[in-house]
Protein backbone atom coordinates (compact mmCIF):
# COMPACT_ATOMS: atom_id res chain seq x y z
CA UNK A 1 0.00 0.00 0.00
CA UNK A 2 2.71 2.58 0.74
CA UNK A 3 3.97 1.64 -2.69
CA UNK A 4 0.62 2.56 -4.24
CA UNK A 5 0.85 5.92 -2.52
CA UNK A 6 4.36 6.52 -3.83
CA UNK A 7 3.19 5.75 -7.35
CA UNK A 8 0.22 8.08 -7.10
CA UNK A 9 2.39 10.90 -5.80
CA UNK A 10 5.18 10.47 -8.30
CA UNK A 11 2.83 10.23 -11.25
CA UNK A 12 1.12 13.33 -9.98
CA UNK A 13 4.41 15.17 -9.56
CA UNK A 14 5.84 14.35 -12.95
CA UNK A 15 2.59 14.79 -14.85
CA UNK A 16 2.01 18.17 -13.23
CA UNK A 17 5.54 19.41 -13.83
CA UNK A 18 5.51 18.19 -17.42
CA UNK A 19 2.11 19.69 -18.08
CA UNK A 20 3.23 23.01 -16.67
CA UNK A 21 6.44 22.93 -18.69
CA UNK A 22 4.61 21.97 -21.84
CA UNK A 23 2.15 24.72 -21.17
CA UNK A 24 4.84 27.31 -21.74
CA UNK A 25 5.00 26.76 -25.46
CA UNK A 26 1.29 26.10 -25.43
CA UNK A 27 0.84 29.48 -23.83
CA UNK A 28 2.86 31.15 -26.52
CA UNK A 29 0.92 29.40 -29.26
CA UNK A 30 -2.34 30.35 -27.59
CA UNK A 31 -1.34 33.98 -27.42
CA UNK A 32 0.04 34.06 -30.92
CA UNK A 33 -2.64 31.75 -32.32
CA UNK A 34 -3.35 34.23 -35.10
CA UNK A 35 -0.20 32.99 -36.84
CA UNK A 36 -2.44 30.13 -37.98
CA UNK A 37 -4.46 32.59 -40.01
CA UNK A 38 -2.07 35.28 -41.22
CA UNK A 39 1.58 36.21 -41.27
CA UNK A 40 3.32 39.48 -40.45
CA UNK A 41 6.09 40.83 -42.60
CA UNK A 42 8.02 43.53 -40.76
CA UNK A 43 10.52 45.83 -42.46
CA UNK A 44 13.98 45.61 -40.94
CA UNK A 45 14.08 49.37 -40.75
CA UNK A 46 11.12 49.95 -38.52
CA UNK A 47 10.28 53.44 -39.65
CA UNK A 48 9.80 52.36 -43.21
CA UNK A 49 7.27 50.24 -44.98
CA UNK A 50 8.03 46.85 -46.47
CA UNK A 51 10.14 47.49 -49.60
CA UNK A 52 8.34 47.20 -52.92
CA UNK A 53 10.51 44.42 -54.28
CA UNK A 54 9.58 42.32 -51.28
CA UNK A 55 5.92 43.16 -51.67
CA UNK A 56 6.17 42.12 -55.31
CA UNK A 57 7.48 38.72 -54.28
CA UNK A 58 4.56 38.20 -51.92
CA UNK A 59 2.07 39.40 -54.51
CA UNK A 60 3.69 37.07 -57.03
CA UNK A 61 2.48 33.95 -55.30
CA UNK A 62 -0.91 32.89 -56.63
CA UNK A 63 -1.90 31.32 -53.33
CA UNK A 64 -1.73 34.63 -51.48
CA UNK A 65 -5.20 36.02 -50.92
CA UNK A 66 -4.84 39.52 -49.57
CA UNK A 67 -1.93 41.75 -48.69
CA UNK A 68 -2.71 44.46 -46.17
CA UNK A 69 -0.65 47.32 -44.95
CA UNK A 70 -0.95 47.87 -41.22
CA UNK A 71 0.31 50.37 -38.69
CA UNK A 72 0.68 49.00 -35.24
CA UNK A 73 1.53 49.66 -31.66
CA UNK A 74 2.13 47.26 -28.82
CA UNK A 75 0.54 46.57 -25.50
CA UNK A 76 2.07 44.52 -22.69
CA UNK A 77 0.57 41.20 -21.70
CA UNK A 78 1.46 39.00 -18.79
CA UNK A 79 2.82 35.51 -19.45
CA UNK A 80 4.78 32.91 -17.52
CA UNK A 81 7.95 34.10 -19.13
CA UNK A 82 7.31 37.72 -18.25
CA UNK A 83 5.77 40.67 -20.02
CA UNK A 84 5.43 40.24 -23.77
CA UNK A 85 4.43 42.85 -26.31
CA UNK A 86 1.21 42.09 -28.13
CA UNK A 87 0.39 43.78 -31.43
CA UNK A 88 -2.53 46.20 -31.64
CA UNK A 89 -3.32 46.21 -35.33
CA UNK A 90 -4.24 49.38 -37.13
CA UNK A 91 -5.91 48.43 -40.41
CA UNK A 92 -8.01 50.24 -42.97
CA UNK A 93 -11.69 49.66 -42.27
CA UNK A 94 -12.25 47.27 -45.14
CA UNK A 95 -9.14 45.20 -44.30
CA UNK A 96 -10.12 45.07 -40.66
CA UNK A 97 -13.56 43.67 -41.55
CA UNK A 98 -11.93 41.12 -43.81
CA UNK A 99 -9.35 40.00 -41.24
CA UNK A 100 -11.74 39.70 -38.31
CA UNK A 101 -14.05 37.64 -40.47
CA UNK A 102 -11.09 35.54 -41.53
CA UNK A 103 -10.14 34.71 -37.93
CA UNK A 104 -13.75 34.17 -36.92
CA UNK A 105 -13.89 37.09 -34.54
CA UNK A 106 -16.91 39.31 -33.86
CA UNK A 107 -17.73 42.20 -31.59
CA UNK A 108 -19.19 41.06 -28.31
CA UNK A 109 -19.51 44.23 -26.27
CA UNK A 110 -19.09 47.97 -26.88
CA UNK A 111 -18.19 49.10 -30.40
CA UNK A 112 -15.34 48.99 -32.87
CA UNK A 113 -12.62 51.71 -32.58
CA UNK A 114 -13.54 54.86 -34.50
CA UNK A 115 -11.30 56.15 -37.30
CA UNK A 116 -8.43 58.25 -36.00
CA UNK A 117 -9.47 57.99 -32.36
CA UNK A 118 -7.23 56.68 -29.52
CA UNK A 119 -9.36 53.58 -29.20
CA UNK A 120 -8.89 49.84 -29.44
CA UNK A 121 -10.93 46.65 -29.29
CA UNK A 122 -9.48 43.54 -27.69
CA UNK A 123 -10.54 39.92 -27.66
CA UNK A 124 -11.82 38.56 -24.36
CA UNK A 125 -8.78 36.60 -23.13
CA UNK A 126 -6.57 39.62 -23.82
CA UNK A 127 -8.85 41.87 -21.81
CA UNK A 128 -8.89 39.31 -19.03
CA UNK A 129 -5.10 39.04 -19.13
CA UNK A 130 -4.73 42.79 -18.80
CA UNK A 131 -7.60 43.08 -16.31
CA UNK A 132 -9.32 45.74 -18.36
CA UNK A 133 -12.97 46.46 -19.07
CA UNK A 134 -14.64 48.83 -21.51
CA UNK A 135 -13.31 52.32 -20.94
CA UNK A 136 -9.99 51.26 -19.37
CA UNK A 137 -6.58 52.07 -20.80
CA UNK A 138 -5.04 49.65 -23.29
CA UNK A 139 -1.76 51.49 -23.74
CA UNK A 140 -0.38 54.89 -22.85
CA UNK A 141 2.74 57.04 -22.56
CA UNK A 142 3.64 55.58 -19.17
CA UNK A 143 3.76 51.94 -20.29
CA UNK A 144 6.89 50.17 -19.29
CA UNK A 145 9.02 47.93 -21.38
CA UNK A 146 10.75 48.38 -24.71
CA UNK A 147 8.49 48.80 -27.66
CA UNK A 148 5.17 48.91 -25.87
CA UNK A 149 3.00 51.92 -25.29
CA UNK A 150 1.48 54.84 -27.14
CA UNK A 151 2.13 58.61 -26.99
CA UNK A 152 -1.49 59.18 -25.96
CA UNK A 153 -3.71 57.06 -23.71
CA UNK A 154 -5.64 54.51 -25.76
CA UNK A 155 -8.98 53.36 -24.39
CA UNK A 156 -10.69 50.05 -24.74
CA UNK A 157 -14.02 50.57 -26.48
CA UNK A 158 -14.87 47.06 -27.60
CA UNK A 159 -14.54 43.46 -26.53
CA UNK A 160 -14.16 40.88 -29.27
CA UNK A 161 -14.99 37.23 -29.18
CA UNK A 162 -13.44 34.49 -31.29
CA UNK A 163 -10.93 31.67 -31.30
CA UNK A 164 -7.75 33.78 -31.42
CA UNK A 165 -6.23 36.60 -29.41
CA UNK A 166 -6.38 39.79 -31.42
CA UNK A 167 -6.42 43.55 -30.80
CA UNK A 168 -7.39 46.20 -33.32
CA UNK A 169 -7.30 49.95 -33.62
CA UNK A 170 -7.63 52.18 -36.68
CA UNK A 171 -4.79 52.64 -39.11
CA UNK A 172 -5.46 56.38 -39.27
CA UNK A 173 -4.99 56.72 -35.49
CA UNK A 174 -1.58 55.08 -35.65
CA UNK A 175 -0.48 57.08 -38.67
CA UNK A 176 -1.62 60.39 -37.19
CA UNK A 177 -0.48 60.06 -33.61
CA UNK A 178 2.79 58.18 -33.79
CA UNK A 179 5.70 60.14 -35.14
CA UNK A 180 6.87 57.05 -36.89
CA UNK A 181 4.35 54.30 -36.38
CA UNK A 182 5.84 50.88 -37.03
CA UNK A 183 4.50 49.63 -40.34
CA UNK A 184 4.11 46.14 -41.47
CA UNK A 185 2.40 44.01 -44.03
CA UNK A 186 0.04 41.16 -43.40
CA UNK A 187 -0.77 38.44 -45.84
CA UNK A 188 -3.32 35.65 -45.87
CA UNK A 189 -3.73 32.77 -48.29
CA UNK A 190 -6.85 31.91 -50.28
CA UNK A 191 -6.81 28.47 -48.82
CA UNK A 192 -5.86 28.79 -45.13
CA UNK A 193 -4.13 25.40 -45.34
CA UNK A 194 -1.58 26.89 -47.75
CA UNK A 195 -0.34 29.46 -45.25
CA UNK A 196 2.42 27.26 -43.82
CA UNK A 197 3.62 26.27 -47.29
CA UNK A 198 3.73 29.86 -48.44
CA UNK A 199 5.48 30.94 -45.23
CA UNK A 200 8.05 28.24 -45.75
CA UNK A 201 8.67 29.40 -49.30
CA UNK A 202 9.07 33.04 -48.24
CA UNK A 203 11.08 32.49 -45.10
CA UNK A 204 12.03 28.98 -44.00
CA UNK A 205 12.33 28.47 -40.26
CA UNK A 206 15.81 26.94 -40.51
CA UNK A 207 17.64 28.71 -43.30
CA UNK A 208 16.07 32.11 -43.68
CA UNK A 209 18.48 33.18 -46.39
CA UNK A 210 17.06 30.41 -48.63
CA UNK A 211 13.63 32.05 -48.61
CA UNK A 212 12.30 34.24 -51.37
CA UNK A 213 12.07 37.19 -49.02
CA UNK A 214 15.35 38.77 -48.01
CA UNK A 215 16.13 38.51 -44.31
CA UNK A 216 18.16 41.68 -44.64
CA UNK A 217 15.11 43.65 -45.70
CA UNK A 218 12.22 42.06 -43.84
CA UNK A 219 11.48 39.84 -40.91
CA UNK A 220 8.69 37.30 -41.26
CA UNK A 221 6.59 36.49 -38.16
CA UNK A 222 5.21 33.20 -39.35
CA UNK A 223 3.98 30.30 -37.32
CA UNK A 224 6.98 28.14 -38.09
CA UNK A 225 9.41 30.90 -37.19
CA UNK A 226 7.58 31.33 -33.90
CA UNK A 227 7.74 27.60 -33.20
CA UNK A 228 11.44 27.50 -34.03
CA UNK A 229 12.15 30.41 -31.74
CA UNK A 230 10.13 29.01 -28.84
CA UNK A 231 11.64 25.56 -29.20
CA UNK A 232 15.06 27.06 -29.26
CA UNK A 233 14.60 29.18 -26.17
CA UNK A 234 12.84 26.44 -24.24
CA UNK A 235 15.24 23.65 -25.12
CA UNK A 236 17.33 24.23 -21.98
CA UNK A 237 14.22 24.06 -19.88
CA UNK A 238 13.18 20.78 -21.43
CA UNK A 239 16.64 19.43 -20.81
CA UNK A 240 16.40 20.40 -17.13
CA UNK A 241 13.01 18.78 -16.97
CA UNK A 242 14.32 15.58 -18.46
CA UNK A 243 17.09 15.48 -15.84
CA UNK A 244 14.57 16.11 -13.04
CA UNK A 245 12.25 13.42 -14.37
CA UNK A 246 15.05 10.95 -14.70
CA UNK A 247 16.21 11.63 -11.15
CA UNK A 248 12.72 11.32 -9.74
CA UNK A 249 12.15 8.06 -11.57
CA UNK A 250 15.47 6.71 -10.42
CA UNK A 251 14.84 7.62 -6.77
CA UNK A 252 11.36 6.17 -6.96
CA UNK A 253 12.63 2.97 -8.49
CA UNK A 254 15.20 2.56 -5.69
CA UNK A 255 12.58 3.33 -3.12
CA UNK A 256 10.18 0.84 -4.61
CA UNK A 257 12.91 -1.77 -4.41
CA UNK A 258 13.26 -1.01 -0.70
CA UNK A 259 9.54 -1.03 -0.12
CA UNK A 260 9.23 -4.28 -2.01
CA UNK A 261 11.85 -5.73 0.32
CA UNK A 262 9.87 -4.71 3.39
CA UNK A 263 6.68 -5.92 1.80
CA UNK A 264 8.28 -9.23 1.00
CA UNK A 265 9.49 -9.64 4.57
CA UNK A 266 5.96 -8.99 5.80
CA UNK A 267 4.59 -11.67 3.55
CA UNK A 268 7.44 -14.11 3.95
CA UNK A 269 5.26 -16.66 5.74
CA UNK A 270 2.75 -16.59 2.93
CA UNK A 271 5.36 -17.31 0.31
CA UNK A 272 6.98 -19.93 2.48
CA UNK A 273 3.69 -21.79 2.80
CA UNK A 274 3.02 -21.55 -0.89
CA UNK A 275 6.52 -22.84 -1.61
CA UNK A 276 6.09 -25.64 0.95
CA UNK A 277 2.83 -26.82 -0.56
CA UNK A 278 4.59 -27.09 -3.87
CA UNK A 279 4.45 -23.77 -5.68
CA UNK A 280 7.47 -23.38 -7.92
CA UNK A 281 9.60 -20.27 -7.51
CA UNK A 282 8.57 -18.98 -10.92
CA UNK A 283 4.92 -19.35 -9.97
CA UNK A 284 5.53 -17.23 -6.90
CA UNK A 285 7.40 -14.68 -8.99
CA UNK A 286 4.56 -14.64 -11.50
CA UNK A 287 2.18 -14.02 -8.62
CA UNK A 288 4.28 -11.07 -7.46
CA UNK A 289 4.60 -9.65 -10.95
CA UNK A 290 0.84 -9.86 -11.36
CA UNK A 291 0.17 -8.15 -8.05
CA UNK A 292 2.79 -5.47 -8.63
CA UNK A 293 1.52 -4.75 -12.11
CA UNK A 294 -2.02 -4.43 -10.84
CA UNK A 295 -0.90 -2.15 -8.03
CA UNK A 296 1.21 0.07 -10.26
CA UNK A 297 -1.54 0.19 -12.84
CA UNK A 298 -4.09 1.30 -10.27
CA UNK A 299 -1.53 3.73 -8.83
CA UNK A 300 -0.77 5.16 -12.23
CA UNK A 301 -4.43 5.61 -13.12
CA UNK A 302 -5.11 7.19 -9.73
CA UNK A 303 -2.10 9.50 -10.13
CA UNK A 304 -3.17 10.50 -13.63
CA UNK A 305 -6.71 11.14 -12.44
CA UNK A 306 -5.45 13.17 -9.49
CA UNK A 307 -3.29 15.26 -11.84
CA UNK A 308 -6.15 15.78 -14.22
CA UNK A 309 -8.49 16.74 -11.38
CA UNK A 310 -5.94 19.11 -9.87
CA UNK A 311 -5.06 20.82 -13.13
CA UNK A 312 -8.68 21.07 -14.23
CA UNK A 313 -9.75 22.49 -10.90
CA UNK A 314 -7.10 25.21 -10.90
CA UNK A 315 -6.84 25.81 -14.63
CA UNK A 316 -8.97 28.92 -14.63
CA UNK A 317 -8.57 30.16 -11.08
CA UNK A 318 -4.82 29.74 -10.64
CA UNK A 319 -2.97 29.22 -13.90
CA UNK A 320 -4.71 31.31 -16.54
CA UNK A 321 -4.60 34.58 -14.59
CA UNK A 322 -0.84 34.02 -14.37
CA UNK A 323 -0.65 33.70 -18.13
CA UNK A 324 -0.17 29.95 -18.10
CA UNK A 325 -2.39 28.03 -20.46
CA UNK A 326 -2.41 24.41 -19.47
CA UNK A 327 -3.98 21.39 -21.05
CA UNK A 328 -5.06 19.08 -18.23
CA UNK A 329 -5.20 16.24 -20.75
CA UNK A 330 -1.67 16.82 -22.05
CA UNK A 331 -0.94 13.33 -23.35
CA UNK A 332 2.67 14.27 -23.88
CA UNK A 333 3.00 14.97 -20.16
CA UNK A 334 1.30 11.75 -19.12
CA UNK A 335 3.61 9.92 -21.45
CA UNK A 336 6.52 11.18 -19.30
CA UNK A 337 5.02 9.31 -16.35
CA UNK A 338 4.93 5.92 -18.07
CA UNK A 339 8.46 4.97 -16.97
CA UNK A 340 7.31 5.20 -13.33
CA UNK A 341 5.13 2.07 -13.19
CA UNK A 342 7.68 0.34 -15.40
CA UNK A 343 10.66 1.21 -13.21
CA UNK A 344 8.74 0.33 -10.08
CA UNK A 345 7.61 -3.01 -11.41
CA UNK A 346 11.07 -3.92 -12.61
CA UNK A 347 12.85 -2.90 -9.40
CA UNK A 348 10.25 -4.41 -7.10
CA UNK A 349 10.06 -7.67 -8.99
CA UNK A 350 13.83 -7.95 -9.29
CA UNK A 351 14.22 -7.44 -5.54
CA UNK A 352 11.55 -9.94 -4.63
CA UNK A 353 12.62 -12.49 -7.20
CA UNK A 354 16.15 -12.32 -5.82
CA UNK A 355 14.94 -12.94 -2.28
CA UNK A 356 12.56 -15.67 -3.38
CA UNK A 357 15.34 -17.54 -5.11
CA UNK A 358 17.42 -17.47 -1.93
CA UNK A 359 14.86 -18.16 0.76
CA UNK A 360 14.33 -21.43 2.60
CA UNK A 361 10.62 -22.03 3.27
CA UNK A 362 11.17 -24.54 6.05
CA UNK A 363 13.22 -22.26 8.24
CA UNK A 364 10.59 -19.55 7.85
CA UNK A 365 7.71 -21.83 8.78
CA UNK A 366 9.69 -23.24 11.68
CA UNK A 367 10.56 -19.82 13.05
CA UNK A 368 6.94 -19.19 13.98
Amino acid sequence: MPMGFVIVLSVFLIATISTLANSIDRTIFTIYGYTNHFTYVIPQRVTQTVPNDQLAIIRGDARVDRIMEASIFFTNIKTVIGSLPFVVLGLAQENEDYLLKRVGTTLKEGRMPAEGMPEAALSEPLARNKHIKLGDLVAGPTDEGGISGAPVPVKCVGILTGPVWIAVTSKSFCDNVFLAAPRCTIYTTKNPDDLMTVNQLFSPAKHRQDGKLSPAKVQVLSRQNLIAQVRDSLSTMFLIMAVVNFTVIFVIALMSGMLANIYFTQRLAEFAVLAAIGYQRWQLIARIVGETLLLTLIGWVAGALATFAFLSAFKESLFEPRGLFINPLDLFAYQYTLPIPLAITIFAVATIAYRLLLFDPVSIIERR
Binding site: A276, G278, R368
Partner: protein, 222 residues
Protein backbone atom coordinates in the same frame (compact mmCIF):
# COMPACT_ATOMS: atom_id res chain seq x y z
CA UNK B 1 -11.47 -45.86 -2.90
CA UNK B 2 -8.16 -47.20 -1.72
CA UNK B 3 -5.40 -46.33 -4.13
CA UNK B 4 -2.51 -48.68 -4.73
CA UNK B 5 -0.51 -45.81 -3.15
CA UNK B 6 3.22 -45.61 -2.80
CA UNK B 7 5.45 -46.24 0.11
CA UNK B 8 7.25 -43.45 1.90
CA UNK B 9 10.71 -44.42 3.07
CA UNK B 10 14.08 -43.23 4.21
CA UNK B 11 17.29 -45.17 4.35
CA UNK B 12 20.21 -44.41 6.70
CA UNK B 13 19.27 -40.77 6.81
CA UNK B 14 21.33 -38.27 8.75
CA UNK B 15 20.79 -34.54 8.85
CA UNK B 16 23.50 -32.31 10.20
CA UNK B 17 23.44 -28.57 10.80
CA UNK B 18 26.78 -26.86 10.75
CA UNK B 19 26.89 -23.71 12.78
CA UNK B 20 30.41 -22.33 12.50
CA UNK B 21 32.70 -24.96 13.96
CA UNK B 22 29.91 -26.88 15.70
CA UNK B 23 27.90 -29.57 13.99
CA UNK B 24 24.56 -30.70 15.43
CA UNK B 25 22.81 -33.78 14.19
CA UNK B 26 19.06 -33.40 13.92
CA UNK B 27 18.78 -36.98 12.65
CA UNK B 28 21.22 -39.87 12.85
CA UNK B 29 20.99 -42.98 10.72
CA UNK B 30 17.22 -43.20 10.50
CA UNK B 31 15.75 -46.00 8.40
CA UNK B 32 11.97 -46.19 8.02
CA UNK B 33 9.31 -47.52 5.68
CA UNK B 34 5.75 -46.25 5.83
CA UNK B 35 3.41 -48.35 3.68
CA UNK B 36 0.41 -46.49 2.23
CA UNK B 37 -3.00 -46.11 3.82
CA UNK B 38 -2.03 -45.71 7.45
CA UNK B 39 -2.09 -43.03 10.12
CA UNK B 40 1.45 -42.54 11.46
CA UNK B 41 2.42 -40.57 14.49
CA UNK B 42 5.91 -39.18 15.02
CA UNK B 43 6.54 -38.56 18.69
CA UNK B 44 9.38 -37.27 20.79
CA UNK B 45 10.45 -34.42 23.02
CA UNK B 46 11.18 -31.01 21.64
CA UNK B 47 14.40 -30.92 19.63
CA UNK B 48 14.40 -34.66 19.02
CA UNK B 49 14.27 -34.25 15.23
CA UNK B 50 10.56 -34.79 14.54
CA UNK B 51 10.17 -31.83 12.18
CA UNK B 52 13.44 -32.67 10.48
CA UNK B 53 12.20 -36.19 9.77
CA UNK B 54 8.91 -34.90 8.40
CA UNK B 55 10.66 -32.44 6.09
CA UNK B 56 13.00 -35.10 4.84
CA UNK B 57 10.16 -37.55 4.18
CA UNK B 58 8.30 -34.87 2.25
CA UNK B 59 11.27 -33.65 0.21
CA UNK B 60 11.32 -30.18 1.76
CA UNK B 61 14.82 -30.85 3.08
CA UNK B 62 17.58 -32.98 1.69
CA UNK B 63 19.48 -35.30 4.07
CA UNK B 64 23.23 -34.89 4.53
CA UNK B 65 23.61 -38.65 4.28
CA UNK B 66 21.33 -41.42 3.08
CA UNK B 67 18.23 -40.89 1.02
CA UNK B 68 14.49 -40.46 1.29
CA UNK B 69 11.98 -41.50 -1.33
CA UNK B 70 8.34 -41.56 -2.25
CA UNK B 71 7.87 -44.88 -4.06
CA UNK B 72 10.81 -44.93 -6.45
CA UNK B 73 11.05 -41.15 -6.59
CA UNK B 74 14.28 -40.42 -4.74
CA UNK B 75 14.27 -36.77 -3.76
CA UNK B 76 17.96 -36.00 -3.79
CA UNK B 77 18.33 -37.45 -7.27
CA UNK B 78 15.73 -35.13 -8.77
CA UNK B 79 15.60 -31.48 -9.64
CA UNK B 80 14.11 -29.26 -6.98
CA UNK B 81 11.35 -28.17 -9.36
CA UNK B 82 10.32 -31.81 -9.86
CA UNK B 83 10.32 -32.35 -6.10
CA UNK B 84 8.14 -29.25 -5.73
CA UNK B 85 5.83 -30.74 -8.35
CA UNK B 86 5.47 -33.95 -6.33
CA UNK B 87 4.75 -31.91 -3.21
CA UNK B 88 2.12 -29.97 -5.03
CA UNK B 89 0.43 -32.95 -6.68
CA UNK B 90 0.92 -35.82 -4.24
CA UNK B 91 1.34 -34.30 -0.79
CA UNK B 92 -0.67 -32.11 1.53
CA UNK B 93 0.82 -30.05 4.36
CA UNK B 94 -0.48 -28.81 7.69
CA UNK B 95 1.77 -26.70 9.92
CA UNK B 96 1.62 -25.59 13.51
CA UNK B 97 0.14 -22.29 12.32
CA UNK B 98 -2.58 -22.40 9.69
CA UNK B 99 -0.84 -19.71 7.54
CA UNK B 100 -4.04 -18.73 5.79
CA UNK B 101 -3.81 -15.79 3.40
CA UNK B 102 -5.56 -12.99 5.22
CA UNK B 103 -7.12 -11.44 2.13
CA UNK B 104 -8.75 -14.64 0.89
CA UNK B 105 -11.88 -16.36 2.17
CA UNK B 106 -11.69 -19.83 3.71
CA UNK B 107 -12.77 -21.45 0.45
CA UNK B 108 -10.33 -19.38 -1.64
CA UNK B 109 -7.52 -20.31 0.74
CA UNK B 110 -8.34 -23.94 0.12
CA UNK B 111 -8.43 -23.53 -3.65
CA UNK B 112 -4.97 -21.88 -3.60
CA UNK B 113 -3.51 -25.36 -3.14
CA UNK B 114 -5.58 -26.93 -5.91
CA UNK B 115 -3.78 -27.79 -9.14
CA UNK B 116 -6.24 -25.58 -11.01
CA UNK B 117 -8.49 -22.94 -9.51
CA UNK B 118 -11.51 -23.99 -11.55
CA UNK B 119 -15.16 -24.49 -10.70
CA UNK B 120 -14.52 -28.14 -9.86
CA UNK B 121 -11.88 -27.12 -7.29
CA UNK B 122 -14.32 -24.73 -5.60
CA UNK B 123 -17.01 -27.43 -5.61
CA UNK B 124 -14.62 -29.92 -4.08
CA UNK B 125 -13.46 -27.44 -1.44
CA UNK B 126 -17.07 -26.77 -0.50
CA UNK B 127 -17.82 -30.50 -0.27
CA UNK B 128 -14.81 -31.13 1.97
CA UNK B 129 -15.76 -28.24 4.26
CA UNK B 130 -19.31 -29.52 4.53
CA UNK B 131 -18.12 -33.09 4.98
CA UNK B 132 -16.12 -32.05 8.04
CA UNK B 133 -18.98 -30.05 9.51
CA UNK B 134 -17.72 -26.63 8.48
CA UNK B 135 -20.67 -25.51 6.40
CA UNK B 136 -21.09 -21.74 6.50
CA UNK B 137 -17.38 -20.98 6.87
CA UNK B 138 -16.53 -20.90 3.17
CA UNK B 139 -17.05 -17.20 2.64
CA UNK B 140 -15.47 -16.04 5.89
CA UNK B 141 -12.09 -14.35 6.08
CA UNK B 142 -9.44 -15.87 8.37
CA UNK B 143 -9.93 -12.97 10.79
CA UNK B 144 -13.53 -14.10 11.28
CA UNK B 145 -12.57 -17.68 12.17
CA UNK B 146 -11.52 -19.18 15.50
CA UNK B 147 -8.08 -20.76 15.87
CA UNK B 148 -9.51 -24.28 15.62
CA UNK B 149 -11.56 -23.36 12.55
CA UNK B 150 -8.54 -21.83 10.85
CA UNK B 151 -6.47 -24.94 11.46
CA UNK B 152 -9.23 -27.21 10.13
CA UNK B 153 -9.51 -25.00 7.04
CA UNK B 154 -5.78 -25.49 6.57
CA UNK B 155 -6.34 -29.25 6.86
CA UNK B 156 -8.92 -29.07 4.09
CA UNK B 157 -6.47 -26.97 2.08
CA UNK B 158 -4.00 -29.85 2.40
CA UNK B 159 -6.65 -32.28 1.11
CA UNK B 160 -7.84 -30.35 -1.93
CA UNK B 161 -5.32 -31.91 -4.32
CA UNK B 162 -6.25 -35.46 -3.25
CA UNK B 163 -2.82 -36.12 -1.73
CA UNK B 164 -1.31 -39.57 -1.38
CA UNK B 165 0.27 -38.38 1.85
CA UNK B 166 -0.93 -35.79 4.31
CA UNK B 167 1.91 -34.32 6.43
CA UNK B 168 1.20 -32.42 9.62
CA UNK B 169 3.84 -30.84 11.88
CA UNK B 170 2.49 -30.15 15.37
CA UNK B 171 -0.95 -29.27 14.00
CA UNK B 172 -2.48 -29.13 17.48
CA UNK B 173 0.25 -27.35 19.40
CA UNK B 174 -1.49 -23.99 19.23
CA UNK B 175 -4.96 -25.35 20.06
CA UNK B 176 -6.85 -26.44 23.16
CA UNK B 177 -7.55 -30.14 23.64
CA UNK B 178 -11.05 -30.20 22.11
CA UNK B 179 -10.02 -28.33 19.00
CA UNK B 180 -6.80 -30.33 18.75
CA UNK B 181 -8.84 -33.52 18.82
CA UNK B 182 -11.14 -32.22 16.07
CA UNK B 183 -8.17 -31.38 13.88
CA UNK B 184 -6.53 -34.78 14.41
CA UNK B 185 -9.82 -36.58 13.70
CA UNK B 186 -10.17 -34.60 10.50
CA UNK B 187 -6.63 -35.56 9.52
CA UNK B 188 -7.09 -39.22 10.50
CA UNK B 189 -10.17 -39.46 8.28
CA UNK B 190 -7.84 -39.14 5.30
CA UNK B 191 -6.48 -42.61 6.06
CA UNK B 192 -9.04 -44.09 3.65
CA UNK B 193 -7.53 -42.08 0.77
CA UNK B 194 -3.82 -42.21 1.61
CA UNK B 195 -1.31 -42.03 4.41
CA UNK B 196 -1.33 -39.46 7.18
CA UNK B 197 1.89 -38.51 8.98
CA UNK B 198 1.40 -36.38 12.09
CA UNK B 199 4.21 -34.96 14.23
CA UNK B 200 3.28 -34.20 17.83
CA UNK B 201 4.68 -34.28 21.32
CA UNK B 202 1.22 -34.95 22.79
CA UNK B 203 0.57 -38.75 23.03
CA UNK B 204 -3.15 -38.17 23.58
CA UNK B 205 -3.47 -36.97 20.02
CA UNK B 206 -2.25 -40.28 18.64
CA UNK B 207 -4.72 -42.69 20.25
CA UNK B 208 -6.07 -43.78 16.88
CA UNK B 209 -2.71 -44.08 15.11
CA UNK B 210 -1.76 -47.24 13.22
CA UNK B 211 1.89 -46.84 14.09
CA UNK B 212 3.85 -44.49 16.31
CA UNK B 213 7.47 -43.62 15.55
CA UNK B 214 9.40 -42.45 18.59
CA UNK B 215 12.44 -40.21 18.22
CA UNK B 216 15.03 -39.24 20.77
CA UNK B 217 18.08 -37.14 19.97
CA UNK B 218 17.63 -37.79 16.30
CA UNK B 219 17.52 -41.56 16.58
CA UNK B 220 14.65 -44.02 16.29
CA UNK B 221 13.53 -45.51 19.57
CA UNK B 222 11.92 -48.92 19.49
Amino acid sequence: MNRPGRELACESVSLAYTDGARTTYALRDVTLALPPGNFYGIMGPSGSGKSSLLYILSGLKMPTQGQARFGDFIYNQRRSSDVAGVRRERFGFVFQQPFLLSYLTALENIVVAAPKADRAAYEKGRELLNGFGMEGLENKLPSQLSGGEKQRVSVVRAMINDPDILFADEPTAALDHTNGRLVVDTLAAWRVRGSVVVVTHDPEMLTGADEIINLRDGRLEK
